[in-house]
């Protein structure tokens, strides 16, 4: 029987939406106050949804402790209290939450043994969120 298991995590990071491909005026026009020169921060919520067969011995799709360890080592320790623009993955990509969401999906994809990563959702604020299904 297939089911999905989800877990929410929190990290805080700063970023600045800016690309060298655009002029200062174009950056200001595209990104507004998110383009302010010294960046700003968010408390990001990452929701990880993993799907697969419910193991008949444990009743679980994925062990919560294993899930926590993987998310902590691959995502939270990397991005928590960091400046996203300085991370190698964002050297040539704007750290929008869309791109962050795709990055988190890539970092966790294939990590859960027989279970599969179904969805990564990143909430940038209470009012906006982004989802990636791979």
């Amino acid at each position: 029987m297939k089911a999905s298991f989800g877990r929410r995590y929190l990290f805080s990071a700063s970023h600045r939406l800016h690309t060298d491909a655009l002029s200062p005026e174009e950056n200001r026009s595209a990104f507004g106050k998110c383009n302010n020169p010294h960046g700003h921060g968010h408390n990001y919520v990452v929701e990880v949804l993993v799907g697969g067969d419910v193991d008949p011995e444990t009743g679980m799709v994925v062990n919560l402790v294993v899930l926590d360890d993987l998310v902590r080592t691959r995502v939270l320790e990397r991005f928590d209290h960091a400046h996203l623009n300085l991370d190698p993955v964002f050297m040539n990509r704007v750290p929008t939450t869309e791109n962050l969401c795709k990055t988190v999906f890539q970092l966790l994809k294939g990590a859960f043994g027989p279970a599969t990563l179904e969805c990564v959702r990143v909430e940038e604020t209470e009012n906006n969120f982004f989802e990636c299904y791979g």
Binding site: M1, R8, V54, N63, L64, V65
Partner: protein, 139 residues
């Protein structure tokens, strides 16, 4: 197609234990959840049904009716109960959040589909605000 979700809460206790394993293995796999004195959660159950709005009422289903079905089929059996000891589904299945979502589907699928108009689309069970499982029906 419209998807309509009704939320309900219940509080229950449980523990995780596989009778086929040694006590050491249960503790290793399930950690603190294997404490046989049990522990409790405030669960949130989300029931999503899918269908077209009725041309007369504009309803996919009557929310009051759905509330009553959830109350009758689930809350009356699970709320303020020990899931391992008092709920028949968990006499032989470990009451993990995954299995609770499957059990909720099995209790609601028939009443929802028999009412006509809508079908059960998804069950989501939150064990805490950070942890949830969802079941979208047998594959």
């Amino acid at each position: 197609m419209i998807f309509l979700t009704r939320r309900a809460t219940f509080s229950a206790s449980h523990y995780y234990w596989n009778d086929g394993w040694t006590a050491e293995k249960n503790e290793q796999v399930f950690g603190r959840c294997s404490n046989k004195n049990g522990h409790g959660h405030n669960y949130t159950l989300e029931v999503t049904v899918a269908g077209e709005p009725d041309p007369v009422t504009g309803f996919v289903v009557d929310l009051k009716w759905l509330k009553d079905v959830i109350e009758r089929e689930i809350l009356s059996s699970w709320d303020h109960r020990h899931l391992n000891l008092e709920v028949p589904e968990f006499a032989h299945a470990i009451p993990t959040t995954e299995n609770i979502a499957i059990a909720a589907w099995k209790r609601l699928d028939k009443p929802v589909s028999q009412a006509g108009g809508a079908r059960l689309n998804r069950i989501r069970v939150y064990e805490t605000p950070e942890v949830f499982a969802e079941f979208r029906g047998p594959a």
